[in-house]
């Protein structure tokens, strides 16, 4: 049970950036997994060179956030609102990042260190549970609350919601929509890198990580419902638990027990758990 929740926590971290860029901004960013991997590898390089976990984390998040903004400003805004070009472009970028990572860091599987202080195991009688996994769950809750609150209660959040709902009116009342989208994209990309640093200590990094992660993140965002942070959070925990129980009950069909309920849910409720009804203009 705790396992499933902690894996769900990781899933939410993976998906949190994507809920911003894809869920809120409706920009299909299939390079999300590549940002995750890039963040992980950058952090690994900095941590190995400097010995500082925190420095690795900060550098990875900052660099990937900049990469994300450049991508959004230079390329993606030219195809705003056109999903198919966005898909083709971001898939291409994911391949480029994947091959650059392979060229720089090589193809051997690597693992990030766990954050300092979370290396041990919690022992409660018969229950043993790694601190790191507990930390993941707590971190997911914190990220969720921060995202939720900043979108719901801050001025920037209100402006983002306005821009997403109706960008023409938002522009008309003086909101700099382009700037807002750049900031949101930076946050989304930075979160992908942040997840890469944590997830890299959980699942490791290897060639192909970018696609594994993207699939999981898309599932969480789509099941949760586009644009809903709460939906993504609930969906992540749900998928984590599903995965856990699937592995217990039908170990050889673990992928089936993960994806089949997702397919059924989407067939019955295409907008996901907490997705808003799309308005037809």
């Amino acid at each position: 049970m705790l396992n499933g929740l902690s894996f769900g926590g990781l899933l939410f971290l993976l998906a949190s950036g994507l809920t911003l860029t894809f869920g809120m901004m409706r920009t299909v960013n299939l390079a999300h997994g590549a940002f995750y991997a890039l963040g992980g590898y950058l952090a690994l390089a900095v941590i190995r060179a400097s010995g500082s976990y925190l420095l690795g984390l900060v550098v990875a998040v900052a660099v990937v956030a900049v990469v994300g903004v450049v991508l959004e400003r230079v390329v993606l805004q030219r195809v705003a609102g056109r999903e198919l070009p966005q898909i083709m472009i971001t898939v291409g970028i994911a391949y480029v990042i994947g091959d650059v990572v392979l060229a720089v860091w090589g193809g051997r599987p690597q693992t990030l260190p766990r954050p300092p202080g979370l290396d041990g195991v919690l022992n409660l009688g018969s229950l043993t549970f790694p601190w790191f996994r507990l930390g993941l769950l707590v971190l997911a809750v914190v990220v969720y609350l921060v995202l939720q609150r900043s979108l719901a209660d801050t001025l920037v959040g209100a402006r983002i919601r306005a821009a997403v709902d109706d960008d023409e009116t938002a522009r008309a009342v003086g909101i700099d929509v382009g700037m807002l989208f750049a900031v949101t994209f930076a946050a989304g990309s930075g979160l992908a890198a942040f997840a890469g640093v944590w997830g890299g200590a959980f699942t490791g990094l290897r060639p192909g990580t970018e696609w594994d992660i993207l699939l999981l993140a898309l599932i969480v965002v789509v099941v949760g419902g586009l644009g809903s942070i709460r939906g993504a959070f609930v969906a992540a925990l749900l998928v984590g638990l599903l995965d856990e129980f699937g592995k217990w009950l039908f170990p050889s069909f673990a992928l089936f027990t993960l994806y089949a309920p997702v397919a059924v849910l989407l067939a019955l409720r295409p907008r996901g758990l907490f997705g808003r009804e799309e308005r037809v203009a």
């Binding site: 396992n3 999903e83 193809g107 051997r108 790191f132 699942t203 993207l214 170990p251 799309e278 203009a281």
Partner: protein, 432 residues
Amino acid sequence: MIARPHRPVRLGLALVVSLALVTAACAGSAVQDEEPADPATDASAAPDDPDADAQPITVGLVNPLTGPFAALGEDVNDGFRLYLDQHDGMLAGHEVVVETEDTANDVATAQEAVTKLTEDGVDLLAGFVNSGVTYGVAADIVDSGVPLVITTAGADDLTQRDAADNIFRLSYTSSQDAMPLGEYACTELGHETMAIIGLDYAFGWEAASGFATAYEDAGCDVVQEIYAALGTSDWAPFVQQIDDRAAAVWAVAPGSDGIRLLQAYRDFGVSQPLIGHGSTTDEQILSEQQATADGVVTSLHYSAAIDSDDNRAFVTAFEDETGRSVSQYAEHGWATAQVLEAALESIDGEVTRETLVEAIGGVEIDAPRGPLRFDEYGQAIYTVYVRRVAEVDGTWVNEVVDSYPDTSQFWTYDPEEFMAGTPLAELHGTWD
């Protein structure tokens, strides 16, 4: 608002397309990667030597250099080139020219690579990591008559039921290195009951069933089998299911799965001793596993810690040249060059595809792993080492604790009976 009239429809379409794309890419990354091939990096390792009196020999290296198995292909190629460089590009008096193609872990790309290389007139093909890819090109290679030395792909039947005259393999069949540990675990380690935990695809099944066959024939009992998908992100639910009836656990999980499996095994304090197939603590991942692999006993035809002059020379040369730790894959590349050299030495007269095939079948070399020769099916016979992971001078290594010389792919069984039986891959799930 006029600008976006059909948003819900288009968004839905976009979702479906993106999910489909990603699913394809993900499935690909596990089995057949869809990545486009890098332009082939043709590398002529040998300088033109005007004094060479013998005909030049061209070798086509066909390995994945992009995609999930890139690290394996790179090690094989570097091992081969390194041996060649140390002999100034000359083997047995022949100048050797290398052509390199990337399979990108994809059947179609691999087929193009093989077609190109055979049309270029290569004398020898060497490579292949993914058994599925190898099966996809095997028929073409058999037809071409070009000798192929498989350097990693493990599917048993490539050198058993589907054996061909011009196909050789100097890496393991999936079950070959697992069977000796079956006997060792039962008789030497004294683990009377065993749980098997491994990856849910042909290699995992063949290795597990090979281990289980030898283990149960030695008089012990497999009590549980757990198989998890390739690329399992969270191994915790699997390791927590391990049965108390098992005295020990045998694992087969190469690559990043091996890192995550051992991490979960230690995190959740599973009490039974862990043993496994050698690829589970391969040198490519051991530096990441570190203490989580401490004391794990595995079997493989190679260890970087083999104490011999041949191996020390190889390890030093490879690590100095590449800056990476050696691995079984690097040894496969190096040994392929040795096999070619020995074969060329034994050929009296013109080197043709036919004479080379015959010569390779008869070679006996001293590789870094020890003595190596081929059986009548083209599969290498070699020493299988029992290794235990330990930390020596700050580095984690697979220390050799015992060895089974001259281990054939059929272990102690009769080849005809072995191949007449149920294929090992189909026996998985029947041992518990």
